[in-house]
């Protein structure tokens, strides 16, 4: 497992430092939103199908030979409080991020995990099918802008 870039011990950055005005350096190359990446109610364990699917995705990305970043977004249905759902969505994204780092060997430095709670539904939360669709993780593949084909 590789470690994050190191810094001198005790060095704490000044957040008030001028913002670098160079353009945003990545773009979203692909976004994977697959049924294999869905979850049972109140659960955050990846399914076997989900593990297989993400392994295939990482293998494909490696075959392409590009250097990439991943953002992993977790989502929930609207059952429960906003705070609970935010935490659950983070756990779902962590399950995916941890799997990719440990089983696929991707440097965690290149993984950005984020939880969105129930704020980005794809389907109607009034139906069981819709809620199931909304309980998911999505994988966004980001490439450096210079590599934009």
């Amino acid at each position: 497992m590789t470690a994050a870039p190191q810094r001198p011990a005790g060095a704490v950055a000044e957040p008030d430092a001028p913002v670098d005005e160079t353009p945003i350096r990545t773009f979203v190359y692909r976004k994977f939103r697959l049924p294999e990446f869905s979850f049972d109610f109140d659960q955050y364990s990846l399914s076997d199908e989900g593990k297989k699917a993400v392994s295939e995705i990482i293998a494909d990305l490696r075959r392409e030979g590009r250097w990439f970043l991943l953002r992993i977004d977790g989502h929930t249905d609207n059952v429960g409080s906003a705070q609970y759902n935010t935490r659950l969505s983070v756990r779902r994204a962590i399950a995916m991020g941890s799997y990719i780092a440990t089983h696929e060997g991707l440097d965690p430095t290149r993984i950005f995990v984020k939880g969105h709670g129930d704020t980005q539904p794809l389907a109607d939360n009034q139906t069981a099918e819709g809620r199931s669709t909304n309980r998911r993780v999505e994988i966004l593949v980001l490439l450096p802008k210079a590599a934009n084909p």
Partner: protein, 157 residues
Amino acid sequence: MRSLLVGFWMAFLCIAAVAQSTPPEAAETENYFAGRRVLGTVNFEKGSHQLTEEGRRAISALVPQLRSLDEPRRLVRIEGFSTSSGNAGDRVTLAMIRAKAVGEAIRQRLPKFSPTLTGHAVAIGTGGSLVPDRVEIVLYDNLLDIDTVDIQEAITR
């Protein structure tokens, strides 16, 4: 002739050693995150993801700085580290859970705070003087701004 061959062989070994010491992928990663700035550090007890009182104080001290970070070009990632026993998967998960705990504590003070996170399994004895079981709150400029960009290809089924 023999010394010439030995010379070529030594040169080849040197080039191979340099290539092995800096894999291109690792070098690109280092380069890409060169602007990484650590705003603060929260230490954890070995094997635990529970915030200590000292940790809560460290987070409280960071809140004013984080509140001022409203520029869309700035990205905060909370990065957990874990050396605890167990397999690498357990350590990465614990590191991410630590980062989650810090993120939640910040959100209690700043409800709009919406960080990303990651986690690292680290070997005991690495990292110099840094406490190995820790979380770093890290700032990046201009790295990614997903909410405002087009997606080149969405893959669904």
